[in-house]
């Protein structure tokens, strides 16, 4: 198995995925650009350094599994898969279009590298937990990484696997929460406050680390250390900024919905191209 992680320039990858996400949501006139932009660094480190996957054999049985439970952030996900060679970059321009392979929530049907289809919140962590349990029962070494949104931590079904995974000592399971602090109709604090968030996961039996979700070095350092404790599932609470990278989108609820068009689109691209 050849995985050329070290060859990937993470800063360059980050820049490219971020730009794709803005272009894709622009061309598609789609929502959720803010939800894509908050997890760009997390995806870049996962696909550039951590995940043992092979784009030439997306179904390699012993691959690490990545599940995007927050399926609405799929623009960035499709972008990182295309950038790391799972499918042609040209597909990205077809996002949302009639007859495209890429709908507005991650879908496995025609997309190499997508493990499962998501979109309805509160599903991914259970499926990931089932995969982790199957791996344990088969004495397989692969890990399962699951990216959740903070909003979907309102779902009771998210907390069912949070209860279950420690009971079965699934230390091959890693939950990453993109904690950008904004959900559909307001801030997390205003809607359903999750704090003390890390303490909740700890109390349920997870080994928890918090990280600046935009600091590539920190993310890599943390992700390289999983499992944090043998016999416990790992949780990474990544403090992120919704809309990160485009100044006028940052921390704005509006950009959960609004599609970048006209001058706003031009300004966003100019800012992304000017920035390192």
């Amino acid at each position: 198995m050849t995985i050329k992680h070290q060859a990937v320039d993470l800063r360059e990858l980050t820049k490219r995925i971020r730009r794709h996400s803005v272009v894709m949501t622009h061309l598609a006139k789609a929502s959720h650009v803010g939800s894509s932009l908050s997890m760009i660094e997390l995806l870049a480190v996962l696909y550039g350094r951590i995940l043992r996957v092979d784009p030439t054999q997306p179904d390699w049985p012993d691959r690490d599994r990545f599940i995007l439970s927050k399926g609405h952030g799929c623009a960035a996900y499709y972008a990182v898969l295309a950038e790391t060679g799972f499918f042609p970059l040209e597909w990205l321009d077809t996002f949302y279009k009639n007859g495209s392979k890429l709908p507005g929530h991650s879908t496995h049907t025609h997309v190499p590298g997508v493990e499962i289809s998501t979109g309805s919140l509160g599903h991914g962590l259970s499926v990931a937990t089932g995969m982790a349990l199957a791996a344990k029962r088969d004495y397989k070494p692969y890990r399962i990484f699951c990216m959740l949104s903070d909003g979907e931590c309102d779902e009771g079904s998210t907390w069912e696997p949070i209860l279950f995974a420690p009971q079965y000592q699934l230390d091959n399971l890693i939950a990453i929460v993109d904690y950008n602090k904004i959900q559909s109709l307001g801030t997390i604090k205003e809607v359903i406050d999750l704090e003390p968030f890390a303490q909740k996961w700890r109390a349920f039996g997870w080994a928890v680390q918090e990280v600046d979700g935009h600091n590539l070095e920190e993310i890599e350092k943390i992700l390289a250390r999983v499992p944090f404790e043998p016999g416990k599932p790992s949780c990474i609470i990544a403090h992120t900024v919704k809309g990160k990278g485009v100044s006028f989108m940052e921390n704005k609820l509006l950009w959960h919905y609004r599609s970048p068009q006209g001058r706003e689109y031009e300004a966003a691209i100019a800012e992304l191209e000017g920035k390192e």
Partner: protein, 307 residues
């Protein structure tokens, strides 16, 4: 049926490590041998059916054949979106097993009666719906589901359902079993009411009416050939199910006949009329109250023919 299922699965699982049984913290005494002797193939998901079902999909997508097991609506309606999105959309090899189909849990009340499950499961893309008629069919259905590709729903009765088949019939998913020959009317039954239907047919014979009885153990895909043949060879057709008349066996049969342009002289779907089974009592009592025991069936069938 419950015992037949667990025993059969236990037997097969001993030689097939792909099989995993996931229970929603139910099955006291029943699943114990499986739990103790095959711990690597057993999971208690706790009282958490959504996670049970999502995990089952995850395990199935990792090469396992996963049976989720709980009572009546619990493995069906509570995690319905997990069934739709995680199981059916991914064509995962998950078999959802509900014990207590219909009003098997009698006095426990409507929360424990599964009376819309067939309708809901039928509507799920890629889902196959099985509702065996007795413990013999249950064993055969369980065996047939092992190497079946894709999701399936297995609706069972309870422990102690009467045996209809004295000899093992040929069982194939999607093929009705003719339990009794007859040329006057056809009674199509699904689930444990097969026994009562056969009793009703025997009573009708005493009045000179020869009823054909079909066990429709697979509701989806429906054996349309058997249905159309019955409608053309016999005068009247009755479907019998311990389930709402909305969306279940009766609906499936009616859709088939109308689309085929084969109309029996008389058709009636016998089941619960879209109401909650709120009367208190045993399954036998409830069947009599809701017109589903052998006596009531005879009455309804005679009225239908004579009317």
């Amino acid at each position: 049926m419950r015992t037949a299922f667990i025993q059969e699965l236990f037997e097969i699982a001993q030689n097939d490590p792909r099989i995993i049984l996931v229970v929603g913290d139910l099955g006291f005494g029943v699943v114990t041998p499986f739990m103790e002797e095959l711990p690597q193939q057993f999971v208690n998901a706790g009282v958490a059916e959504q996670n049970m079902t999502g995990m089952a999909a995850g395990m199935a997508l990792s090469g396992k054949i996963v049976f989720t097991y709980s009572i009546a609506n619990f493995p069906v309606l509570r995690p319905l979106e997990q069934i739709r999105n995680d199981v059916c959309y991914h064509k995962a090899n998950v078999r959802i097993v509900a014990v207590g189909g219909g009003m098997a849990y009698g006095s426990l009340g409507p929360s424990h009666h599964a009376t819309e499950d067939i309708a809901v499961m039928r509507a799920m893309p890629n889902m196959v719906v099985l509702s065996p008629g007795d413990p013999v069919e249950t064993r055969l259905a369980t065996r047939a589901l092992i190497d079946f590709q894709g999701p399936a729903y297995l609706r069972l009765g309870r422990a102690g359902d009467p045996i209809v088949h004295k000899e093992e019939p040929t069982f194939e998913i999607g093929k009705a079993i003719t339990v009794r020959q007859g040329s006057d009317v056809t009674l199509i039954a699904t689930g444990a009411l097969l026994y009562d239907t056969l009793e009703a047919a025997n009573s009708l014979a005493e009045t000179g009416i020869q009823a054909r009885v079909l066990s429709m153990h697979t509701i989806k895909p429906l054996d349309t050939e058997a249905v159309i043949t019955a409608a053309s060879e016999t005068q009247a057709l009755f479907t019998i199910e311990e389930h709402s008349v909305i969306g279940g066996l009766g609906s499936a049969v009616a859709e088939t006949l109308l689309e085929a342009g084969t109309y029996p002289r008389y058709f009636k779907s016998i089941g619960l009329n879209g109401e909650f089974s709120a009367i208190v009592g045993t399954q036998e009592y409830l069947r009599s109250q809701y017109g589903l025991d052998a006596n009531a069936l005879v009455h309804t069938i005679q009225n239908g023919i004579e009317g």
